[in-house]
Chain length 232, copies 2
DNA sequence: AGGCTTTTGTGAACGTGTGCACAAAGCTGA
DNA sequence: TCAGCTTTGTGCACACGTTCACAAAAGCCT
């Protein structure tokens, strides 16, 4: 389940505060989910709760870490050391959660060789060797969008089976390779969408404020602006 | 719908290549979704397709932009100009999609005053005034996690109703305020989870490789490692 | 002009995820 | 030891999103 990391974070915070046990209600509130959902998620891992008491925090941290595969630490490689690659390389939050930045790579020979966060940026030529020697199985793509598919293909060919993609492109990969994407523009656009909804017919019923309009105007400009992009 | 931005991106690419029309099949492939799903999503906006031909690319771009509220451009403020805030400030990909970085803010007086990407970083003291004067309605939080909730509260108090949060915390906000989060650690943990599944019982049936074990051992260490975190 | 091909729009079945509600289970205190 | 209280684990119903499949519509070719 994709919510386990959330629970793990909340549990870690409790653990650091020395809290010995939590009820599903408390933990659910901390993670921002429904308590029944949380209990069902946890029961999927097995029955690790005590009725009338709750869950043992330390034990649950261990069980979830185990389920997520965080008892080992995963070497990750970051490809494309520009603005974003820099920020990720300097970010200390990975190491604390079972991930280790094993290598920084870039195609630009002016970038390769630089020291960033105590590591030397390697050139893409060394990709295959690095993946093999350091057993890297997770790759992070922070190259410009046009280069992303090519980089992805090379990563897959080198044996990487999990990719985190920051470039705004749909990557196609063979079966057995997992891709997750982080796309800021999409997040902002979704926010803008809701923002527009809010400001549309604020006082009255917030139902379908603008979407009902276009159907009413058969061929002319729907709202009077930008008619030049209308079809013939 | 959260998929509209994806369609919009694919359509923009087609538009730049001068393609006049697309079928739902082609567009679905480009966006990485099912064609029936795509048609249903688009039909939700109204009937903008021609049977036997497909959809007019330019027209659809306009309609989706309109639905998402991208015909206007949204001023955003970035709070916390550290590693990540820097990268976002330098990123050119926002402007091209209807977003404008209106202000950079930081609580550190050593950071405020610096010029980044042609803008002067402002101090948090000016937050309320900036939000009011520039009509900022979207805030991006890139401060350390412990500061996030406090910053969030100030943003909300200042009148911001949409927040994009990069700090690994659950933000609580009053009703009417939208929060979306981007959490790298969670993404990596999900990848690690699948990665572990793949490598677990690779040749045989990949069913529930490790989860069935703990129930069999009533009180001892479940698999022999890390017994010190087991409960009493 | 009329049939043929292509592609949309949508009805209906399906699967999944969510949340309520409650019985069973364990702890606590008398 | 036993009653009472708290909290888990889960059966069940419901709502949502996804996918198939097909009829209606539009263009095209003869
Ligand atoms: N900077 C941000 O805040 C931000 C935000 C959202 C999305 N993104 C996306 O992240 C990606 C990177 O953004 P950025 O601002 O860091 O860009 P950037 O131009 O600063 O950095 C890109 C780096 O990738 C390297 N590179 C180019 N082609 C390569 C290849 N084939 N193999 C290996 N390395 C290669 C370049 O040498 C450069 O160092 C882009 O796709 C961008 O759209 C960035
Ligand atoms: N750097 C990354 O690649 C990365 C990746 C994932 C998540 N994150 C998260 O993003 C956040 C920022 O990361 P970073 O590496 O940029 O951290 P950073 O320490 O480099 O930057 C944080 C900035 O926030 C400012 N700040 C602190 N408290 C503030 C407040 N109350 N109001 C306004 N500004 C304040 C600091 O002055 C600093 O400039 C963190 O929560 C981190 O967990 C970062």
């Amino acid at each position: 389940m994709a919510r386990l990391p959330l629970y793990l974070r909340a549990l870690s915070a409790l653990s650091e505060r020395g809290v010995p046990t939590v009820s599903s209600e408390e933990l659910a509130a901390a993670a921002g989910v429904n308590s029944a959902k949380l209990r069902k998620d946890l029961s999927y891992l097995g029955s690790y709760g005590t009725r009338g008491v709750g869950y043992d925090v330390e034990y649950l941290v261990y069980q979830i870490s185990r389920e997520l595969g965080l008892t080992q630490d995963w070497p990750v490689a970051i490809i494309g050391i520009g603005n974003l690659g820099h920020a990720l390389a300097n970010y200390g939050g990975f190491a604390s959660r079972g991930f280790r930045v094993a290598a920084l790579l870039d195609a630009d020979r002016a970038v390769a060789g630089q020291r960033i966060a105590g590591m030397v940026v390697r050139h893409m030529d060394d990709l295959e060797q690095i993946v093999r020697d350091d057993h890297v199985s997770i790759g992070v793509i922070t190259t410009p969008a046009p280069a992303a598919q090519g980089v992805c293909d090379r990563l897959v060919a080198a044996g990487i089976t999990s990719i985190l993609n920051f470039a705004p492109t749909v990557l196609s990969v063979p079966e057995g390779v997992d891709v997750r994407k982080v796309d800021l523009s999409i997040e902002l656009q979704i926010l803008a969408f809701h923002e527009q909804r809010k400001s549309a017919v604020d006082p009255a019923a917030p139902d379908l404020p603008a979407a009902a309009q276009p159907a009413a105007s058969p061929a002319g400009g729907p709202a009077g602006d930008l008619p030049e992009v209308m079809p013939a």
